[in-house]
């Protein structure tokens, strides 16, 4: 069993090393959201898509939502036609795992303004994109290529107001919408490690 896991995670790692790169087509995936709806990346072809690895028990992630900064950005971007997908890859055995019902409750409590929350307890999408931390963000351009990967902003803190920081995701999306090249395409993601299933 352990060997199988090692093999699978090695395959997953190999996939992340080679599949996701700036300027290359972002790999397609099929997931299920917390309302049981099937979500495919390819459904959003022609739109800018933001992927965010999420675990609100992680103090870094939590601070973005507790302060309302993340919801504000989600509202602002989705209003411009951007798709924002939350990816929750926490394994079912972890204390931070949310059942769909708990997740729907959290969505309401936090007033999340994303397009959808994908339940990914198997870690398929997380591994496919090589999501390391919560938060770890990916911006996919309208042509389906990866335009940005890394941290939410330049402020790796667990308290204080994230609005004072330079937000890389906002900057990347704004550049894409304006038809300009994205200035910062890659940063070191910060946060807690994604608590993948073992």
């Amino acid at each position: 069993m352990k060997k199988l896991f090692v093999l699978l995670s090695t395959l997953a790692l190999a996939a992340t090393t080679f599949a996701v790169d700036i300027g290359k087509p972002a790999p397609d995936f099929t997931g299920t959201d917390i309302n049981g709806k099937t979500v495919k990346l390819s459904d959003y072809a022609g739109k800018i898509v933001v992927l965010e690895s999420y675990n609100s028990d992680c103090p870094f992630c939590h601070n973005h939502y507790a302060t309302g900064a993340a919801q504000e950005l989600q509202a602002q971007l989705t209003a411009k036609g951007v798709v924002w997908l939350i990816v929750d890859s926490v394994g079912t055995s972890n204390d931070s795992y949310r059942t769909p019902a708990q997740a729907r409750q959290e969505w309401a409590d936090f007033k999340i303004k994303a397009t959808a929350w994908l339940a990914d307890p198997s870690g398929t999408i997380g591994h496919l994109y090589g999501m390391k931390t919560t938060p770890h963000l990916f911006v996919i351009a309208k042509d389906g290529t990866l335009a940005y990967e890394g941290a939410m902003d330049d402020r790796p803190e667990t308290d204080g107001d994230p609005r004072t920081a330079h937000n890389y995701v906002k900057a990347a999306v704004d550049s894409l919408l304006a038809g300009k090249p994205v200035a910062v395409t890659k940063t070191r993601p910060y946060g807690c490690g994604v608590h993948y299933a073992e």
């Binding site: 995670s9 028990d57 103090p59 204390d95 870690g123 931390t133 667990t158 308290d159 910060y190 807690c192």
Partner: protein
Amino acid sequence: MRRFIILLLACLGLGLPPARAAHTRVTLLLSATTAKPGDTLLAGVDLQMDPGWHTYWKNPGEAGIPTAIKWDLPPGVTAGDIQWPLPHKLPPADVTTYGYLDEVMLIVPLKLSPDLKPGQPLNLQASLTWLECQDQCIPGKAKVSTTLNLGTETQASTNAALITSWQQKVPGPLNPAEWSLQAYWDKPAEGDSRPLVVTGKYQGIVTKSLHLDSVDFYPTANDTFAIQPATDLSTAPANGFQLRKTVKKYSGDWPLTVAGVITIQGNYGAQNYDVQLTVASTAPVPITASTSALNAPTAPTQSLILMMLYAFIGGLILNIMPCVLPVIALKILGFVGEARSQPARVRLLGLTYAVGVLCSFLILASVVIGIKAAGHQAGWGIQFGNPIFVVSLTTLVLLVALNLFGLFEFNLSGRALDSASQLTLKHGYSGAFFNGVLATALATPCTAPFLGYALGFAFAQSAPVILLIFLMVGLGLSAPYVALSWNPAWLKYLPKPGAWMEKFKIAMGFPMLLTMVWLFNLAAGIYGSQVLWLGIFLVLVAFAAWIYGEFVQRGRSHQTLALLILAGLLTGGYAWLMEGQLHWRDALKLDGSAVSLKDGADGIDWASWTPEAVTAARAAGHPVLVDFTADWCLTCQVNKKTSLEIPSVRAKLKEMNAVALLADYTHAPDNITEELSRHGRAGVPLVLLFPKDPSAPPIVLPEVLTPGIVLSALDRATN
């Protein structure tokens, strides 16, 4: 339930900071209770985590955040950087981090200004922030404080030993006497990923072969790139390691240096170094000479001293070799005898002569080093597999022997001597110096016992060794005259020049013939039975030499006719025998499989090496031993006698059902040259051991073997 409590607490925010640090307790310790102004003492910030919880190193890795200390210190006290003890590499593999389990003490030097006044106690405060993680991550915050007395005497605290013990876990700078490290890019970048290689060579004395349990590189955090935590150690050079990492770039150019901690554990203890390595753009060229010195540091050192001794004795003997003795000895002895009345002047003359000799050998050594540098790095031995080299040398040695027998004279040196002897007649220092130069010039075509061996050794070595050996020959050549000029009375013990010299010269021709027989035997290895044609050609050369001496040099008439006959004989003989029959420039391809490679009835059952044979044997589940060897490779023969064809190794190979393959490099076939360079070697010996597990990389044995090295490698290959 727990997460709601955490959420609730988190939402309450700043009001309850210590309560959020539920799993880590922090204390501040000092190495001294009382310090005096100007002291530097150590602060130990101790973090104790609950079982299973961890905090992070200065580079947290793929997630997490380093512990931070913000000091609040009175004026006159300054805190240095945090010294981080060696961290652990923490799982899971998909999000690897560097941190500390259970406990860590971060060390911070505190510097007291000399202007502080003793008497007033100091209040030292620090605010800490950290992230503690298990299945969850929780940010931690704490304030710690302590007081320090200022006095005129430093008083260590009871915690000093504990702080020192943690400080010893902080990686220090690289010790070049233990390891040498190199970093280089393995390949050009592929997108934003690029493979990085860090190699290490153990520099200490290796008494038993180095075995490493673990090696890793924990990089320092960087905003523009990240060295991925996964480490590939599948290639393991002898007595070192090769560590492969992937570097992922975020922005900017590829780094020119990488910094971090190298941690090594093996049978030579644990070494942890805080290093900054320059990243070369390509792999460095392996240097075979120094590799061999590293693999068996004792043997080459011994042989170097032995070779220096041989070189000295060889130089000494050169004095009585026929090419030098009759001319130089007379001149030197002349000035020694003549100036007997002025001992001080004679000594200076003797020294000047020695300087002349040494200068000349310096020039000779430079020529040899230059030739080597121009691309003949393949090593001394390889020429003996080259037919052109062997035939030329055999012919030359035959001619030297015939010359010693008096069949003919080397006309050129005779003439050079006539004019040169005019110069040496000039007395004084320039004359003595020139005598030294002349002695060397005349000595070069002459070989003496011991000398060839020492020079043969030198040719395969690095430039400093070549220089050393040549200078030893020079010292040997000049030593007798320096000694005589110091004590001219010893002249009476020397035999007087006379007819005995001619007899001695002829006697020396026989060792030369012996050398020729050895070379002829090598040629037989190249040409097989066809070597007969070379033999006939050599007799023809001897005949031509006699014609030359008897009718051209000593003849009174028809010298031009003799020369014409001689030229016709040599040209015709060469064209018919060497080109027509022997095709001497192409070595005969001997069919290796036809020859039995087995050494006696219970010898190792060697088969001929091919890459396919290795693959086939491994596929069938056999461990494979490959010996890359050559007839002219002395080390290979010694290895075989002392460490391979011995009862214990034979028995072990049988027991593990191993396949033994012999790769014969005598004629340097291309496929073996390629295989050697693949393992970082420019020549033989090379012994490879492919483990039973077909996916495992081969074990590269050191160049000089002992039974212990071979047996322990065989053990490793079975497991």
